[in-house]
Amino acid sequence: MAERIPTRLGDGSLVHMTRGEIEADLHDGTEAAARRAKVEPLGEDELDHLLDIFTSPARFSAVDIGHEVVLSIDGSGNRDINAPVLEQIVYQNHHGADIVEVWNSDYSYKAVKTVLSFQMQELKDTLLQTVVPVHYGAMPDLGRYSQPDGPAPNWSQLLPQGRIDEARAAQEEAMALLEADMWHTAEAAVATGADGLDFDTAAAAGDADFLATLHVTRRIRDAFPDFGVEIGMASEMVLGMHGQLEYEGVRLAGQWPLGQLRAVTAAGATIFGPAVNVNTTRSVAWNVARACTLVKPVTAEATIPVHMNAGMGVGGVPMTPYAPVDATSRVSRALVDILGLDGL
């Protein structure tokens, strides 16, 4: 009877699988991604390396010495001791963070604008007390501008009614408001001394959310050439909630990570963060093989650093607030080894 190896599912639960079952999952994961995004599956040598990682009985797995990457930790600090500046110092001194991020509990540029002066004071206090680079981060979060939370008509209600033109107009109205809030925050963060801005979970509300982010990124790059802009995506494919929006002549709806990279690079961002969603019912091995397949074309073509999202429920990390160390370390190593990432 084949030995059963402890491993994890995408929801974090512990399961026992044979070497053959894990190998089959790796092949199935890469083929699923290749079919869906029309990209090349992983090669045999890459799958063999993943098999070694996921069949090891060790509790922890890590990259080889010398292969370490930069960690831009979005949402650094746990907000558990009610001392946000101190928490950034803790992440710098105790967690080995290469970049930290000041953020608001209501993680949205629309919400940030209402407390901007307080957020910028927190940013300034952090900058005076830290050495590592400091980002200010929040979500573009276009949906916040639709009714009942915002002034624009709600396109999620209009679309099922077949009122397509009105839904598109509503998103364009919301985009203008979002861009104003993001730009307002960017100007304040630059004046406060931040090293960069993080547009986190971009395109969460689809192609209009993404386009607004690209517009503001271009505006920042033109105005502040040395200021960093990290664009981290919300998911693996841009949803076409509008469907007709383009950036520099390329339609944004339906873009997979490689297309997203091209748009982000054209807009002038300095770091790109692809995100691949986790299937909680499949093994972590299956999810990692799938994530690597979707992002491999990105690192092959990128001219800017690629910091893949590897937080809860993305990149292969299980969808649980207490991600097991055995699973997260395997994901971390596998993504860096297979993709040649610049960071996480």
């Binding site: 890590a62 010398g66 930069v70 992440y91 080995g96 290469d98 050495v131 090293d195 960093g228």
Partner: protein, 108 residues
């Protein structure tokens, strides 16, 4: 989760040269190998040294790039926090926004 990534694949931040390599990615959009080579050249060390906490402790101390106080070692007479960023800007040859703000506000 951040601690797991730091141990599994992270450069180590101020324990090593992770923050310095990160600055080249942020301000110059350099990919990792280029950023590591650039920082190593500016520090006068090898790329391998950048991830070695022992080597980097001595380099950071010599150049005034900031150190992490620990139980056994404190650095009250060495550059820390914003002070160290003045040195980082000079050693790496890049603008550091918070340093520029500090200069402006202090009328230096």
């Amino acid at each position: 989760m951040a601690a797991t990534h730091a141990l599994a694949s992270g450069m180590g931040g101020m324990r090593t040269a992770g923050d310095l390599v990160a600055r080249m990615q942020i301000t110059r959009g350099m990919r990792l190998p280029q950023a590591k080579r650039y920082v190593a050249e500016r520090l006068g060390c090898s790329v391998e040294d950048l991830s070695d906490p022992l080597v980097m402790h001595d380099i950071r101390r010599e150049l005034g790039l900031g150190l992490i106080p620990v139980q056994d070692l404190t650095y009250p007479d060495e550059p820390g926090a914003i002070e160290a960023k003045f040195r980082i800007a000079e050693v790496l040859g890049i603008p550091v926004n918070s340093v520029a703000c500090f200069r402006r506000h202090a009328r230096l």
